[in-house]
Symmetry: none
Subunit: 131 residues, 4 copies
DNA sequence: GTGGTCTAGACCACG
DNA sequence: GTGGTCTAGACCACC
């Protein structure tokens, strides 16, 4: 697996794990239907507790990214991730607000900020193609 | 003051407080040199703990948004907020990454995402003019 | 057979299997004395583990729905299913309680709830006639 | 508190706990805005692990029965529980189906079954008034 | 003091 | 071997 955690970070481990897996899906490294390691093996792999992995998996399931079969294990949602609706967009905007306010204070223009975002998009695209 | 907190939110209060003040600066409601209420009076005003306000102020000071004088009280940094450097941009990008990854998974195109960001910028501009 | 399983469900497969067979009896698709496929063939048919079918059959036998003859195979209880006694009613009521409590909290009146139940009864009746 | 658990039951403890609290709301023993014991104190009270209580609370929160404040503790949702929608009714019907199928097999008529449900409703009403 | 997170280790249901 | 549940004990963020 390509999971890379920062155990020193204040960001909870299970959140980092979620992010990594979501990035994996975004870059197409993980495709619908792909299997994910079992809770135990992934925990052993990256040297954390199985409950921490479990928590990450459960929330990913809740958000529609993955399916958890009691026996067969875990797979990327074969139907694909639920598309964004208005509620989601509202939510992400409210999350973005503080970052943008901060950026404005620090003199980052709209154009610059958009550039930063586009860079990230490019990043994901590149990774996606490379694979 | 225009502070509006959501005590039900999982977002820590001192973080919300920071965000509100930063938004105030971003929209020009708070200008360089403007005074801010003392820890004590602000805490009393919005009915929260002294420590909470203190924590918010301390971090705002640390980030260069405000100055804290022992006697003169608290003011918005008269020099303006330190401009963004490369380090800051890197940092904000790393914060943005998970949101964008998530957005990609949910089928939000780069164009759409940029639109969402621009909307927020417009929002801040409008508020700024109105005041 | 008319067995229809949802392998994605959190509901254990052997439970689903039981339910399906019980529904078959309730709708008269399966009549007293009717033969049921052997453990082996049913498992092969619907592509699940022998043990799973076995567990379902064992519990159905235990509850008096079916008889298992070592040689003659499996049949729907020719005597019919044991009638409900007081103990059974108490038991089913205790199972129903949490659902009803939940329904009350969500503003479903007694009348509405009864309607929901009657709908299901109608459903079974219709299916029964159709066959 | 009025919590009564059966530690021998196969029903997970956190589920029993949820049921008990939901029943408390249904019988009006717990009213919107009422505080619930802290995770730790309730766990100590009924002699189970705090994580088990936590799990029950989290799911109750998820289902809209309670609110969890990081500091203030836990309260019954002051807005009341979200009302049942069509989806909920569909869901509860699919849960009810197996019980009704079983009841039919055991010779319980629609009328009798409805009676059983009404009894439970009466039960909750009585308890509600008594308090 | 509150809930949130993480670890660790045990037992069980399921297939 | 899989995930689900439960216990136990530790540290942290928050107020």
């Amino acid at each position: 697996m390509f999971i890379q955690l920062d155990l020193e970070s204040t960001e909870p481990i299970y959140i980092q794990l979620q992010h990594q897996i979501i990035e994996g899906i975004a870059t197409n490294k993980l495709k619908p239907g792909d299997p994910l390691p079992s809770v135990r093996s992934l925990a052993a792999d990256i040297g954390i507790n199985l409950h921490t992995v479990n928590k990450a998996y459960k929330q990913l399931k809740q958000d529609g990214f993955i399916l958890i079969h009691r026996q067969k294990g875990v797979v990327i949602n074969p139907e694909g991730v639920p598309k964004a609706d208005e509620g989601y967009k509202k939510e992400i905007q409210s999350k973005l607000r503080p970052y943008i306010a901060n950026a404005i204070c620090r003199g980052i223009s709209e154009k610059e900020f958009v550039k930063l975002c586009k860079d990230i998009y490019q990043d994901f695209n590149k990774e996606g193609e490379a694979t």
